[in-house]
Symmetry: C2
Subunit: 416 residues, 2 copies
């Protein structure tokens, strides 16, 4: 049954429906201090202001004594309270925002508070939702790994022998992760202008093969102790929520530098995330069966349910086969400690059809073919001034659970 909200602007088409209630960090002209908020339709509900007017600890007993989490400049303190508290808070907020519900009047009929706490999204500046300790990028998108591996090594050797046994991942750069809308500068790097020439002679130049990568990002809520792995059955309890992630990639820098220790400068100049964190519970209704792995996974990654993936329609209607609990179980297997706010990237998500590719590298078949992108003319890689926007949504019929936009514009390289 579809409930409706008394808040104006909650259209049947909004990604921020009552079924969503995603968390972000906003500031306004009047109050430039960043603070937690949730998105509802075309408004942000300022959690700091709301908590000043409605004693949230009375609606959500688990929150009592922790209300200060809504006075922080990031969501880390709220995330650290753990999934049962997130569930209760989300439920209470949905109740507060639903027309005719038992608690709706508390906010709906309090004009002063409503005026203060409900802020049009157009007037809210979005900030990084979390302080990110460590960022790990996985390579879990099977179709992407296969397509890119085929380009580099041919289809027979496209996937390394370990690929079907473990979620291949590597540590990325946390400092340069920015929120949607932040300008991205084209990076300089070492590039082989003539890859065939011997001896190899790199040049220092601005990247000529700048790419995006469409990924799903997952934020960690509660930490685990160093030396203590997270079992696959407990992994879900460590998930706070999800964002869209654009892992900008400099392909010409990457192909020269990545042997033998992986990508470095080709990735660390910037990654962009969408500003609203969709809580893990909001995605529960969209569980789906993941892509079948014919190789039996090791015991420590075996889940006891069939529906381990999430069905998200990304920009080009790709369903993700991202299995975050396996990533967490694998990441912590040796005892690595995750901290609140750590970000896990899924790796590029691609489908099987030619149009369903999550990067230009794949769309242009390694830079050999011109590609038509929405609103741009033909290109193989990104030009200065290009804007890349990723959108993703689950569900429909007035109950859309959407991520909003993850967008970034390319600015020309610095002068050297």
């Amino acid at each position: 049954m579809t409930s409706s909200s008394w808040v104006p602007g909650v259209t049947p088409d909004t990604p921020f429906s009552l079924a969503n209630i995603p968390f972000g960090v906003i500031s306004t002209k009047d109050d430039p201090t960043p603070r937690p908020a949730v998105a509802i339709g075309s408004n942000a509900l300022d959690m700091k202001a709301l908590n000043g007017g409605i004693w949230l600890g009375e609606l959500v007993p688990e929150l009592k004594g922790h209300e200060h989490v809504f006075q922080q400049t990031t969501l880390n303190a709220f995330a650290a309270l753990g999934r049962p508290v997130h569930q209760q808070v989300r439920k209470a907020l949905r109740d507060l925002l639903t027309a005719g519900s038992s608690h709706a009047a508390k906010l709906q009929d309090n004009e002063e508070l409503r005026q203060k706490a409900l802020i049009p999204l157009s007037q809210a500046k979005m900030h990084m939702p979390m302080a990110i300790g460590d960022y790990t990028d996985f390579y879990a998108g099977y179709h992407h790994a296969f397509a890119v591996g085929s380009m580099f090594r041919g289809p027979a050797a496209a996937l390394q022998p370990n690929y079907t046994h473990l979620p291949v991942g590597y540590h990325g750069r946390a400092s340069s992760i920015v929120v949607s809308g932040t300008p991205v500068r084209r990076p300089w790097g070492q590039i082989l202008l003539d890859p065939a020439a011997e001896p190899k002679q790199p040049t220092t130049a601005p990247c000529r093969r700048l790419d995006f990568e469409l990924e799903l990002g997952c934020f960690i809520s509660t930490p685990n102790e160093q030396g203590t792995p997270v079992g696959i059955g407990d992994a879900e309890d460590h998930i706070f929520g999800y964002v869209l992630l654009n892992d900008w990639s400099a392909r010409d820098i990457q192909s020269w530098e990545y042997v033998p220790l992986g990508p470095f400068n080709s990735k660390n100049f910037a990654s962009t995330i969408s500003p609203w964190v969709v809580l893990a519970d909001a995605l529960e209704p969209f569980r789906a069966k993941g892509i079948e792995n014919k190789t039996p996974v090791q015991d420590y990654m075996k889940e006891d349910k069939a529906e381990t993936a999430i069905d998200i329609s990304l920009e080009v209607d790709i369903t993700t086969d991202v299995v975050v609990p396996q990533m967490i179980a694998h990441h912590t297997l040796g005892g690595c400690n995750m901290r609140t706010g750590d970000l896990l990237g899924s790796g590029t998500i691609s489908g099987t059809e030619p149009g369903e590719r999550g990067s230009l590298l794949e769309l242009s078949e390694g830079g050999k073919k011109d590609v038509m992108l929405y609103g741009m003319d033909m290109r193989r890689f990104l030009k200065d001034g290009d804007t890349v926007t990723i959108r993703g949504v689950c569900g429909g019929n007035g109950e859309k659970v959407g991520f909003g936009e993850c967008t970034g514009r390319i600015y020309s390289a610095v002068q050297r």
Copy 2:
């Protein structure tokens, strides 16, 4: 000319001489709040207590208004003040601690303050000196790269074509870096028990080839803005100081997982650093010519001085050929922003002689030969209960600039 200190216990052999004055973070039984200190001989000088009794801003005008940096639980705020301030503070402290100097009486003759601020190292608990945002590990030790590369690919292909052109580096795990003395648990991981068998079938088991890696760590002081590279000429200004670093490595996990994106679980369970940060200025007198690179480096990494390396005698008398300014210039070339407290690892430092190897992998020639380690019986890799201690020192004759110890003991894997 060698000056002497009025502080008892500053022997000619101490690594913490007047020529050193390294910074760390201590706590005591009486005051369990971590706080900055410097090491002098066998004592720690509590900077918080000192600043309560002596107005440091009067001795060091650049510090005025910033004295709160000594009330923090890490050195990040002090590091962020920049190298000129570190220089002045170190100079003022050396003056305060030197027998017969103009300011010595301020502390030497103030018994109450002296009792409070001078704490025997045996009574000081050491904490992580910095809050580490990102950890980057380089692979800059030429002899190590060549030895390990030879093992995997033979001497002719030991080094990849990019090796002589750029400092190969990768992003490591910041959350699991611990201070010297913290126990290290043997990690579980995916391991190929029979690497020759086809198809490859990994097993989940505790690591059987646990190794150490002897490295030098460098902490970043002032940040650079995202999108703005640090020029090689300015790189030194971003260096706060140095520690010893043991990058524990699970070789059997590493060899299975590392293709194509680099080491992950084989490294992220723990890295250990020595607790005292030796400031960049304390190492200035020990500059040396680095190992000659026959390949001309790209302009953005060209230094305008001949002595670009630092001559540190590590445990087995290996001189490092670590060129940190090149690492910083390369790391930020594409615009990656460094933050105060970021840690750069040199990569394993090895010499050219059989005994001068910074890891068991090299000493045991890939696990094929038994090795005699100080105070242990013969082994190829580390056993439960083994303790690895790294020491490093520059100079001598009462002016030793030492790092103290970087030590860790291996505990058995968790039960699963």
